[in-house]
Amino acid sequence: MKKFLCCIGVLFYSTSVFSQIKDIVESIHGNFQIDAQYYNKDTSIGAPIVPQKVLSNGFGNINYIRGNFSAGLRYESYNPVMQGFDPRYQGSGIPYRYARYKTQKLDITAGNFYDQFGSGMILRVYEERGLLYDNTIDGFRAIYNPIRGITIKGLIGHQRTFFSLSPGVVRAGDIDININELFDSLWVNKKTKVTIGGSFVSKYQASQSPTLNEPENVGCGGGRVTITRGGFNIYGEYAYKINDPSYVNKYSFKDGQGAYLTTSYAVNGFSIMLAGKYVDNMGFRSDRDQTLNAAMINYMPALTKYHTYLMATFYPYATQPNGEMAAQGEVQYKFKKGTPLGGKYGMEIAGNASVAYGIDSVNIAPQNDSRQYHYVVKSFDPGQKYFHDFNIEINKKFTKKVKGTFLYSNQFYNKNIIVENSAIKEYADIKTNIFVADITYKYKPTSSIRFEGEAMLTQQDKGSWAVGMVEWWPKSNFYLAVLDQWNYGNADESKRFHYYLVNIGFIRDAMRISLSYGKQRQGIFCVGGVCRTVPASDGISLTVSTSF
């Protein structure tokens, strides 16, 4: 009897506990990813020798979300970090953990958070896991909506630098006003929608310089506006930063400023977009002595087309925070089904042009002072040419089973500035002509095969390249791809290598496993406005990724 009662008790207890546990368990979600590579010795392609043979990057996120409350953490491990990433990622730890309470009016985070003001020109705290970019702030943030249409943000904390924190503290505030929502009765039904915003960011870092009179508090302020009406869209932003000598700007005391304007018009089947940007000395970090992409407070995206084809991204551009003028324009048109060019299934055509120049400045002689300016801006005319990309892309479905993408791109690349960050003309400017054909043949409703052919013609740097790829998806959860990149135009005949790569992958729900074997060519890798060279490698690599 006693046993029976006990059993009933246990059952009763366990179902109530069970439902609680079940609720808790169902509120826990996360994701994991591990990348590992085995490196073969291959000095012919210039692959550095890896004494550990195997390198790996891994992370796991766990989030608990229940009602208004959420909390989570990320564990990261680098044993040691794979080639091509910042070697300062070493060991394991929990660089990200937070607790957050969010209602309609108030949203408070203690711990790590990501955020951005406007386009990010004065503050953008974000992560890009695949590139190992993470400048999360560890501190406090509050977001408050006092009335409909107004959002006020305040934050304070230190930025992550690898497994420690940046020495400078970041304090920032932002206000965002949606005019239509604020003046409900007058504006809410107007066709014109207007949002304005303003922000201020300040950092404090003690001065360590015995010679320079470094400012310890550096402030940066900015304003922005978004206007939309019908198919029109305008976004403008301006930011100003007081003197902020840093390693990257060569300890110049000149003030910084940045302006960004983008406009577009889009209707069904047609769109046009124009954007322009001016940047002078806008590098902004919470540690003035940091390099590469550590401790960056702001984000200045490149105004160039975001290519995905291998040859079109061979020479990628990144905004030069020390000074740049850039512009981009794009026109897209869709030929409707049944028109002569559209054919039975329609055709899309996109033309895009982007240019980037330095600013028109002259160097000035060193002053006998603890504040050095180094240069003055002469005019708003463009200076030295950094980059251009004129390209045209066509997407066409030929039959129910066959479709293709065709791309032509003409690019100009100032390697001295973009990669070496040096005004000395060590390398010739690189001029390329790139052709891509990408054809997909769907031989069964859920099976397909994709062919990609690319060529990059150039006289400079390593010369011309050709690429061939076949990607076969016999079933939607499995693929096999074979790739060859051939440096057939290398001036040094002994370096006309083939870089073969075989890749297989399995997908089930949110899980993805991919395994590849072969050679990776040396490449240029840009993140956070910084480009650097990634060494070549030869070996086997594995990626396992899942979320739950």
């Binding site: 246990v10 366990s14 069970f18 546990i21 079940k22 368990v25 169902e26 979600h29 994701n31 996120n61 989030n63 979300i65 208004n68 309609q104 990501y114 955020d115 951005q116 386009s119 020109m121 953008r124 974000y126 959002t151 949606n178 929608k193 949002t195 978004t226 198919g231 869209n233 889009a266 209707v267 069904n268 089947g269 047609f270 769109s271 046009i272 977009m273 975001y306 290519h307 995905t308 794009e330 897209q332 869709k334 899309e348 996109a350 769907k442 409703p445 859920t446 099976s447 397909s448 998806w473 939607s476 959860n477 997908i507 089930r508 729900d509 949110a510 899980m511 993805r512 990724s545 979320s547």
Partner: protein
């Protein structure tokens, strides 16, 4: 006592194994195409299923998926009432292209921009494309990473299973 612990553990493990995917859509703030803030708690479809597709203007497979679905979307809506919400994770660099791409292509979907990637993080999305099915009660019942030609066939099969109350295929 041992039994209690064992049984609780067993039940907890079973419940985990049984339903690991579930949970409601997390509530975060994202933007619509005119820049106004929208809470994900407003995602509804009158008790019919919703497909949430994370995409970006630079992601070829994402755009292929949404293009291919567009060919059949009118039929899908007529037959099941399903609604597609396309969430772009483009940041400041490519955000102006979200509206121009959507309009040029003529996508008939509800489109939002998650430029601070709050929704992406809350939904545990690693890489795009990542597609979710939400049932009529707002529960996440299925998700799939990556896109291969013809995946929309399986996606729609599962929407039909969901409507009929059948088990979803994985």
């Amino acid at each position: 006592m041992k039994k209690v612990i064992v049984s609780i553990l067993a039940i907890a493990i079973c419940s985990m194994a049984f339903k690991f995917d579930g949970g409601k859509i997390p509530v975060v703030t994202i933007k619509n195409l005119d820049g106004s803030k929208v809470s994900t708690s407003t995602f509804t479809n009158n008790g019919k299923p919703i497909i949430i597709s994370f995409w970006a203007t630079w992601c070829k497979p994402c755009k292929k998926e949404l293009d291919n679905i567009m060919d059949d979307y009118a039929d899908w809506q007529k037959e099941t009432g399903v609604k597609i919400i396309a969430v772009s994770i483009d940041d400041a660099r490519t955000m102006p292209k979200v509206i121009t791409d959507v309009k040029t292509k003529g996508w008939p979907y509800e489109v939002y921009i998650d430029d601070n990637q709050d929704f992406k993080r809350a939904m545990n999305v690693n890489v795009v494309p990542h597609t979710f099915i939400i049932d009529g009660k707002g529960e996440i019942v299925w998700s799939h990473n990556s896109y291969a030609e013809g995946d929309e066939v399986y996606l729609y099969e599962n929407i039909k299973h969901l409507i009929k109350g059948e088990k979803l295929e994985h």
